[in-house]
Symmetry: C2
Subunit: 368 residues, 2 copies
Amino acid sequence: MRFTVDTAELNAAVATVSKALGVRSSVGILEGIYAEAIGDTLLLRCTDLSLQIEATLNVDIQKQGACVLPGRLFSELVRRLPAEETLLSADKNTLLIESGRATTTMQVENAKDYISMPDVNREFSIAISKAALKNMIRQCIFATAQDDSKPILRGVLIELADGKMSMVALDGYRLAMRTEAVTVSGAAKNAVIPARGLLEISRILDDSDEMINMVFSATHVMIDMGHTRIITRLMDGEFIRYRQILPDSHTTHVRVNRTELLDSIERVSLMARESKKNHVKFSFEDGQVTITANSEIGASKEIVNIDRMGSDIDIAFNAKYFSDVLKVLDDEYVCLDMNTNISPCVVKPETGDEYYYLILPVRLFAGN
Amino acid sequence: MRFTVDTAELNAAVATVSKALGVRSSVGILEGIYAEAIGDTLLLRCTDLSLQIEATLNVDIQKQGACVLPGRLFSELVRRLPAEETLLSADKNTLLIESGRATTTMQVENAKDYISMPDVNREFSIAISKAALKNMIRQCIFATAQDDSKPILRGVLIELADGKMSMVALDGYRLAMRTEAVTVSGAAKNAVIPARGLLEISRILDDSDEMINMVFSATHVMIDMGHTRIITRLMDGEFIRYRQILPDSHTTHVRVNRTELLDSIERVSLMARESKKNHVKFSFEDGQVTITANSEIGASKEIVNIDRMGSDIDIAFNAKYFSDVLKVLDDEYVCLDMNTNISPCVVKPETGDEYYYLILPVRLFAGN
């Protein structure tokens, strides 16, 4: 192959696809970038076989062809090339890169030896804006499990039905659920996407209203953004049946300023962190919540104004589970619904029913 | 003690001194911040006994006194306090911090148990601007040794004589020397300052022309910036006698654009890094230098325009030793003086004699 390409466009495309580059892969060729020049288009592809990212760009092709470039070296070099245009030409074994005063040759591998993920057939797809998908991921992904005790919990459940998409993440201590109206083509469907794949998807998405397609097969999901496509494997196995743990009533309802509550929790949690228990106690009364933490080296207390309906309640939480959700919400006020100090607390924005978060309390003993 | 303080000023002072906080110190009390309220001044001090940083700030003192605060917890809390003013009050064992809706108590230690470095008597001092001292450190410190094979080389030699201060750093492969006119009070003097202390000093300095004092005793140096003072231990032992290795003539003189040379070296070094030898070869001819590197997976070549006087020369270097110096110089052009491909290369800015850098080449064998 032989083509001339805009250096900045090449750099942007390589930076995008190389997020899926295999690192010290057991399959050596996956440490490379697959490059294919056909017609007036260059296709770049990286995969570690659980995540695959492709980018296409328009280039001036003099000779068609394909090869596999050394991934790390090529992407570092492309970032630093001196000229606005770069000429790449490859024979069977060697790629020549010419850009201004810089000339580099590097060994390439045969395109026929490259392995990639299966094509995703387009039997089921939804349309959603980039901004909405990015925001859904941001508001759910932090609640996925970080350990492997239940591997399925390292994924996010996607539920598609009745013109709505829900994302659900839970780790055994808290649950985050975000719903969005989408255009669904096809019947109801569930899928579990690995958190790592979703994270890379959200990094590539911007906050625009541009519509993109999510295409589901039985085993994979593809996010099709035109010049960029991301494919991630779906997770096997059944997700936790979470609906039965969602409380259907509450005895205490609290409305509180989100950033005031967040700032107070973060200060108090500095003291909580010094103790072995690492929990923060909330005493909700009429008009205010008192937030406290104790450790061997001291004690912290904060008072935040609230509106409350229902009974007083003393309840304790792992501070991180509370501050995590307050950080991803954008509303000025949030609402908390509680029953007892051993049953879950539900956190929602003051308006709308798109977001739902549930935290299990930690048990309070006398003297805490 | 009991006093009211501007929260932002307290935060800035704590952030400054806590750079010298002992981390998991064998002397537990050094993980604390010494605080002393006298007259209308609060003194804060941290030390790990090789570096000590002090800050003073004006506060409204209602009761004098001193204590040792838990360093990490206090500094993290101060960063987040909600109100513009904070009231601190301590009895023998407990500090109470009140700032808006936040109330924290923490255990403190007795000020009498704190250890600090000896006062630096003011027998020998120099005056220098903050910007000049910061720049001297930046242009030398990177050439200090990173390993402990010769501990003295982890320090920077300071030579004071005839109204000039020189800083010299060397690691066995390269040497950086920077000279600056200063006001010296006292006779000629040498001292070796640990690189870590110099680094913390340069982080606290800004780029202003404000004059500050460096005060030397036999064992310590103090940088006195008024409200902030930094003391660092001097290193024992004799520094390498470096003057005998500085070449006194050259047979090739080259003038080259600094950023063009730097960019080319950085690209070529990507390829050099792939090989075991990790060196970059320079072929200086009339009008251009050709920079090359080879590895098993490819080859890079760059051509940069130069002005040259004297003979052609082929010479090879560890790329990092060359790019390091090109990064810390600010001049548009630099000059290189060379003799043979096994003798040192001297790098200087095109104008001025304040900076001098020397690199040992790596030996070229046939076939390289």
